[in-house]
Point group: C2
Chain length 337, copies 2
């Protein structure tokens, strides 16, 4: 494949979740230098929940937003620095500030059915002259056709690249293929894909996305990211090399950075365990877990059965009160069988 | 997909490598009961290198071959017990003994270009009335066409199922697709696929194999197996369920067995690290590693460069003497550039 795939590293942003937003500026500087030297095209650095994310609600970060962005900008020679912006969490003022600090890319992220809320933020990114990306989170929650409709909105606002974001690691390879190929046929923008590894398909899904026409993919050193982590950069690059997919990253350098620097920084191993596998399987938010466990105990049903039924109901955050009803329903069904 | 895929568990055989062949009969009994109760179709239990493998050369197992097989047989209610047989390591006498102990499946394994050596052993398995499988190891080392030639030999000896075995975890999804689809078009046998996870494609490659017509796939609890491990059974089953691929395994039971029983038994985490990734990337035997490191130090070249060049030369075990020449060559090339 002759087209060069752009690698957007998320070690410092999605990886923030895995370290409870506690990277120090020294760690940020070291990781940035290694990533930049390895040839990564874009390095995203923000609180895990984006600009303005440092709060009691989402978790306070160790360093200020300004220090996170400034440190990253000061330590790149070639890579562009990106910030994540969830409208509602972050504002256009946050974005202007990030731009002043040297961020060149903004990824405006919304739930996959709420692209409407991205209009002003996408336009703000464009008016600042930034590389402006639409980022459709929890993409498994929309049919390919509905996801395309939402992407069309982002395209109409001016987004230059639009991402299929598999926030829960819940997409199969066929699911990715359908979504990315539909984007490719119907959008004039560039296309991106962001994987999580809950079903152990992070690298495979990224490869499928590239084969279906994606221009950008996300990855992180040793998979450093929320839940089961993202596609591991060094694994993705190894597979891309084997498959002769063109890119700018030096495999040995990212292998060394992952093993010698990233892994020793981890406060817990980023891996697929029963919990993260279950989240990928059911595609639900982690906020439901505790409620499902309590209701499961109370009504004598496996909490995983509850999660599965919630997954089928396409619940989003905030609908935890459904759980009692579901648990009662399941208990009744179990008695009958 | 309405065809039921047969799951061949290798926790007790390939997993033997990851525990240095030290499973106790108590551990074997516990794992067997859990696997059998979860609905796994076939449980393979042998030394990691198959019948007769317990030796100073390949590593002594904690329990005798008879005790390993007997314990597994005594603890299954529904699953069939399989043994692995590498002609040269194990003999037809070993196979007869395993059959007497209650093994119902034999997998006769050869290097992917040496199917000839399997003839007598396949015929012995058939004459014992066993479910007899040909197992083509290191399948990345043969072109799809050459691999088919070898499979045709096993078919002519009577093998009822023939496996593409990705021993080094070195096959991409496209590589798997090509090999399994060629088998499907040209063989009248059933087809199997055995994954390793070095490139993090273990589950994805197994799914591709199924989509191309494979009838059986291997997996193990938490991926317990040599190197980066096999396809993790609980992850594979989760993805199969999501994709509506039919099989006999209970997801929650294998999730619990992996988390509560298998992981606490591990003496080291089965995961993708720099070393196992490099083996998958280059597709070489681990026996080359130490030599490459020594020669790399002596001649001032990255040992990974040496491994890559060896991989391209399709070296098999026993050709470690090539390494000095390669290191000298690389050192000379590096001086010129």
């Amino acid at each position: 494949m002759t087209k060069k795939i752009i690698i957007n590293d998320v070690t410092l942003r999605d990886g923030m979740h895995a370290i409870s937003h506690q990277y120090s500026v020294e760690q940020i500087a070291e990781l940035t230098q290694l990533l930049d030297d390895s040839g990564v095209d874009i390095i995203e650095a923000t609180h895990g929940d984006g600009l303005g994310g440092s709060s009691l609600q989402f978790g306070l970060s160790k360093e200020s937003e300004d220090d996170i962005i400034r440190t990253t900008v000061e330590n790149v020679k070639n890579a562009k620095v990106a910030v994540l912006l969830l409208p509602g969490v972050g504002t256009i003022d946050h974005l202007k500030n990030a731009h002043n600090l040297g961020a060149k890319v903004v990824r405006v992220a919304t739930h996959c059915t709420e692209a409407d809320v991205s209009e002003q933020h996408i336009k703000a990114g464009l008016s600042l002259g930034m590389d402006t990306v639409g980022f459709l989170m929890m993409s498994h929650r929309a049919t390919p056709e509905n996801l395309l409709e939402q992407a069309k909105k982002m395209e109409s606002y001016g987004a230059e690249t639009i991402y299929v974001v598999d926030s829960a690691g819940a997409l199969s390879m066929d699911d990715v293929r359908q979504r990315v190929s539909l984007f490719k046929e119907n959008l004039s923008t560039k296309i991106g894909f962001h994987a999580h590894n809950n079903l152990s398909l992070g690298v495979a899904n990224s490869i499928v996305a590239i084969q279906e026409g994606a221009d950008r993919v996300d990855a992180s050193l040793a998979g450093m990211g929320a839940g089961a982590g993202n596609a591991a950069l060094e694994q993705l690059v190894a597979v891309m090399n084997k498959m002769e997919i063109s890119h700018n990253v030096d495999l040995f350098k990212v292998m060394d950075a992952a093993e010698n620097v990233m892994k020793p920084m981890m406060v817990r191993p980023v891996q697929i365990d029963r919990l993260s596998l279950m989240l990928g399987y059911t595609g639900v938010y982690s906020s439901f877990l505790l409620f499902a466990e309590r209701a499961g105990k109370e009504y004598g049903v496996d909490p995983r059965e509850i999660l599965m039924r919630i997954g089928k109901m396409n619940a989003v955050g905030g609908q935890e009160d459904w759980i009692i009803g579901i648990a009662q329903e399941l208990a009744k069904e179990n008695q009958m069988t």
